[in-house]
Amino acid sequence: MSTYFNIKLVFEYFPQILSKLPVTLAIVVFATIAGVILGTLIALIRINKIPVLQQFAVVFVSFMRGTPIIVQLFIVFFGLPVLLSKAGIDANNWSTIIFVIVTYGLNLSAFMSEIFRSAIVGVDTGQKEAAYSVGMTNWQAFKRIIAPQALLIAMPSFSVNIIGLLQNTSLGFTIGLVDVIGEVRAIGVRTYHVLEGYVAAAIIFIVLSILLNKLFSYTENKLQTKLTRISR
């Protein structure tokens, strides 16, 4: 192990570690897409109280919120191939990134469903009644009146969760994913200098978080001005 910290190495390793950034970003993008779609579905199931599916959704969300993500990651990593082999699909040679995306997509969907649910319920019922009173159908009322307002309510928690997802991707190395952290460890094995790599990785995550935060507050402002313009 490193007996001293060499700041020069932080810069030396930086480009190599940065080259694995697309892996991290791919996980964030695909898991977000999966999480939003599945989360919306779960939220709709729970709001409309669809029997059987609703109970299943409650247990699923509780499990996802009540267990550490690293445990979920390993359950998917070991369990998904077993499950798929029963359906005749061989998943043993799948790339680790698929397991990471599946886990984080499922995990995020549980949190997203709660955010969407409270956001949709949070829109005043008067708004829905107003939409019906002017002859809108259920779907029209949702699309034009409820959804835009719910989106604004959901935005802050949504951004917190996506930034959380970005940080959670750092656990992918435990199942052998070569992302930013995985690369640091690979460098560590070769050079015995690992602390410098972790510091470089920390810098990458700090910059990414700042950029994501900027993006979200920009989107939130945009949404806010757009909505107030409509209401005027």
Binding site: G66, T67, P68, V71, Q167
Partner: protein, 223 residues
Amino acid sequence: MNGSDFAFIIIAAKAGIACIPTTLLLSIVPFMIGAIVGTIIAMIRIFRVKYLAQLFKIVIDTLKAIPLILILYILFFAMTDSFKNINMIIVAITTLSVFAMVIISETIRGAFMSIDSNQYEAGYSVGMTTVQTLRRIVIPQAVPVAVPVLCNNLIGLVKASSIMYLITVRDILNGTLITASSNYRYLDAYIAAALVYWGLILIIELLSRILEKRMGRFRMNVA
């Protein structure tokens, strides 16, 4: 690996349950340290103490952006370098305390910010000092706001403590995994670990709901 063995899941879960005290130690001690340091930082930021407020804003925002695993490894290498034969529990508690400090300071700040500035002014207008206003007006209103979030913070700490198995701390996760080291039934061991964490967190959630109810009653009495 051929499916899961229910009997083995029970064995692994029992080993996990036996390690609950370690997980609680890794959650509650950092929670308390985080609550003390986090509250001080939150106060400094709420009252905009010169220089310190800006400094802590940068520190908290930076630490918030670094994944816990990186904080763990950076502290792990720094601490094992400085102190030979350091107990891994100390490294784990230090890491989780940093994490707790960040999230709890944000919780406390959020709770205080949720109190309208009118409330302070009302206090001052009847001749109360800042300390009196805080103690009699602001804190009683901020506590019911903070408690549910603090409970969530504690649950977050319980879940976050699971990564300490990476530095060989024998918590719930490591406890269950050790049982699988002889028969390689890792899927079963992870399922067992998930069940133990799930149960533990459901209990904390239940306690938090009871606490919230009592807080609600307290709030009604004040009003």
